[in-house]
Subunit: 150 residues, 2 copies
């Protein structure tokens, strides 16, 4: 007769990730308050600062988000003056996201703010390295499962 393993919430990896994610959210919400940006908006800007102009599709590939999430998020960024949204003349299906002057001007200020806040976390390079190693491994295992059924 097989024994059912009880599941203790506080020993579950998923719950540690779930909790850490919310804490990071709060951390960045505080750090980004001067710019009135949420964490998802911030990572959208991060990838745009690296790669703009980008299509919605391409942003989604970088952030693992679909248009159902990105369309309203990008509209908010547009209404706050960070980006512009224009349809490509070559292919009317794709929407091209461009950074505004405001976004280009504010880039280093945002970088500095986030970097200085991260310093307050007091993580050594070695500690960050350990986390990255563990999370990369976990990520691969989650991927191989999630893609197994395709």
């Amino acid at each position: 007769m097989p024994e059912t393993q009880p599941i203790r919430l506080d020993t579950q990896l998923c719950f540690q990730i779930y909790t850490a994610n919310k804490k990071f959210n709060k951390f960045y919400q505080d750090a980004l308050k001067p710019f009135n940006l949420t964490y998802p908006q911030y990572i959208a800007l991060l990838t745009l600062w690296e790669n703009a102009p980008m299509s919605v599709k391409k942003i989604g590939k970088h952030l693992h988000l679909d248009s159902g999430t990105l369309t309203p998020l990008l509209k908010r960024l547009e209404s706050h003056g960070w980006i512009t949204r224009t349809r490509s003349p070559q292919d009317e299906r794709t929407v091209i996201i461009q950074l505004t002057d405001k976004a280009l001007e504010q880039r280093d200020t945002v970088y500095d703010r986030v970097n200085s806040c991260q310093d307050l976390l007091q993580l050594s390079n070695e500690q960050i390295e350990d986390c990255t190693t563990a999370l990369t491994m976990l990520d691969e295992h989650l991927d191989s499962y999630n893609n197994a059924d395709k």
Copy 2:
């Protein structure tokens, strides 16, 4: 003249956590499909299977969620027959959450299902240990920052 450190998205701990959280969500969504449960609903049941009966407040302490999230979530669990919600006679402010017979009967089936899905992740005990260690450390650092301003 200080140099502004550029921020590469894919090297950021926060983004690894953000991504892993979404992948875990998908993982559990698949695993829990037979029970028509979401991940947040599942962890609410987990803590109830350990500690029921519980007040909404106490559940919130365990899961780090407030009543704005829990009230509608618990109403959904109630409407699907997993729990009951009754006001305490001793203190009319608090709502007592109890598990239904269905929840008690299904417990081991859910445990078995989740445990067998977790086996498919192919994580060794050592790998899980490494993740837990890293995440616990990260959690403490996030806590000390998030509670600093109080």
